[in-house]
Symmetry: C2
Subunit: 327 residues, 2 copies
């Protein structure tokens, strides 16, 4: 699945085109540090599945990938993230102030790439809506945190008892909105009919929900994912599918214990392990996997509007791999 990497030259070229020489290597660092380009692959395969030329999808795919990375650099500032993709984050390498400027710069460069796309007005509207969603999803994710940040807005608006519906709204904005934008933009890059674009859009949305639900499950129940297990617990996040479903099954006493861990000022490894074990006593993992599978099945059904092709099959495989986190 090297398809997504085909956006790299476009991104690096756009960064190089008009940037000050003494800023350039810092601007490039984040993209050169790796990344799977999963969302770029989604744009390209959505376009190709709808009968479009791959060549026409590359610039739109670069836009989607830049949106994702713009949000990652900002997220690392918010979460004081130190490692990403096994390497030091931009804020560690360059410093907080400059990494903020780098992310802001990405936002402008991505607009310049949009200007060079076909159907650019349409693509920009989708991109802007996705970015608004991502920003608001991040806000909700912060409101689902149960401790640590003593910031006035978060303290007065914290969501202490979220419903699964609220959780879906949060991950919809934080994650699925960009998956939706990716496949929708892919459809536009193929100049597909509105019905096809809509179907691709819904495919992306449901696949995105499935992806995030599984991402949460693997955080709590996973092993061998390469990620730090229990990170969400350590970060006080109640906005995690496995934790939320698990709580439904726990006795009042154990539920209170889990919440107490999430609300602790510091969550040492031992406490995070305890939280994981509490969730593991419930059918949360099985239930979340079922929910994710249902969304993924719905997603794939949306593709029935497309003619069978090698690309359509690749798109289905991609969604499987993405959700199972084997991409």
């Amino acid at each position: 699945m090297e398809m997504g990497r085909r956006v790299d030259p476009i991104i690096l070229e756009a960064l190089s085109a008009s940037s000050p020489p003494d800023f350039l290597s810092s601007l490039k660092y984040h993209f050169e540090a790796g990344g799977k380009r999963m969302r770029a692959a989604l744009v390209i395969l959505s376009c190709a599945s709808a009968g479009g030329k791959i060549q026409n999808a590359l610039r739109p795919a670069a836009v989607v990938e830049m949106i994702h990375n713009y949000s990652l650099v900002m997220d690392d500032l918010i979460d004081r993230g130190e490692v990403r993709r096994g390497k030091p984050t931009v804020r560690v390498v360059a410093g907080d102030s400059v990494s903020l400027l780098i992310a802001m710069y990405y936002r402008e460069i991505l607009d310049q790439i949009i200007q060079s796309c076909v159907r650019s007005t349409r693509i920009r509207k989708i991109a802007v809506r996705a970015m608004k969603d991502i920003i608001d999803g991040e806000r909700l994710d912060l409101l689902f945190e149960q401790a640590e940040r003593d910031e006035p807005y978060l303290e007065s608006n914290r969501i202490t008892d979220p419903s699964f519906r609220q959780y879906l709204e949060m991950i919809g904005k934080k994650t699925a909105a960009l998956f939706r934008a990716a496949s929708e933009i892919g459809g536009h890059a193929a100049k597909a009919r509105p019905r096809v674009v809509d179907s691709l859009s819904e495919f992306g949305w449901k696949a995105g929900l499935a992806f995030q639900i599984m991402d949460d499950v693997l955080d709590i129940c996973g092993s061998n994912t390469g990620k730090q297990v229990g990170k969400d617990v350590i970060e006080h996040k109640l906005g995690n599918s496995a934790i939320l479903i698990g709580m439904r099954y726990l006795t009042d006493r154990k539920k209170a214990e889990l919440l107490k861990i999430l609300r602790s000022k510091r969550v040492p490894f031992r406490m995070a392990r305890r939280a994981q074990r509490l969730v593991a006593q419930t059918p949360a993992e099985i239930e979340c996997r079922e929910i994710a599978k249902a969304y993924l099945d719905e997603a794939k059904q949306r593709l029935s509007i497309l003619k069978d092709s090698e690309y359509k099959r690749s798109l289905m495989v991609l969604s499987d791999l993405v959700v199972s986190r084997r991409f």
Copy 2:
């Protein structure tokens, strides 16, 4: 000069239109906390001077004003600013994480306002170029700082002996680029001929340089500006017109003393006063005022292409007031 305030309903309406109810008051706060709307007035009067309708300039003016405020909220994060316009900054009222999200949200809302402007493609190109310049100007401003931030990028790229040309490049990007964009966009809102747009654009550029040079002078030499005097010294900024010009006249010993102050980890009030007095021993203030006046005169000459009108006279008065900081 209440003209600039006419953008407020547009900005508040755009923020309200599609924002989550529990986010809205935080989004509005920065705009409700005040601001002179100087750049909005510049757009509106540039449009009217070129024979355009004020009505057509309001949305473009809202765009320019949002760019400015987007950069202010980000700057306050970078500088840990606590007070702006006599009120607590967004980061104090909402917290750092959410104020970052608020600024990012402004960036998306301003794109939506651009979508609703006439000549929107042109306006967007100018806006994006201005934002890239502002970001890079902020980077240069940070590189001109002589101490405090131990951030890897800044430490390896710090500019310890800037020329006046480098200073002009920095303030050109940080400040004059948005003034230029404001009057250029005003020209486009008037659907003015290219020659008129170019003249307005150069008017804005030169007026912006004059404004920033005087802003720097007042920081070091001023009183009764309502701003904290010597803030640039306290913030270790060598990128200040009066300091740079003053250094030319100081003996080596006094120059070393001034640099030592700027390089001190903490600059107490007493040391900042000493730095001011060192600069005051030189003709820096007079010389800077002359340079600013020359730029302002050049700016106003650019307006000779426009027919005389009440609006043209107002635009000239506006540039006088802006540069003398009586706006």
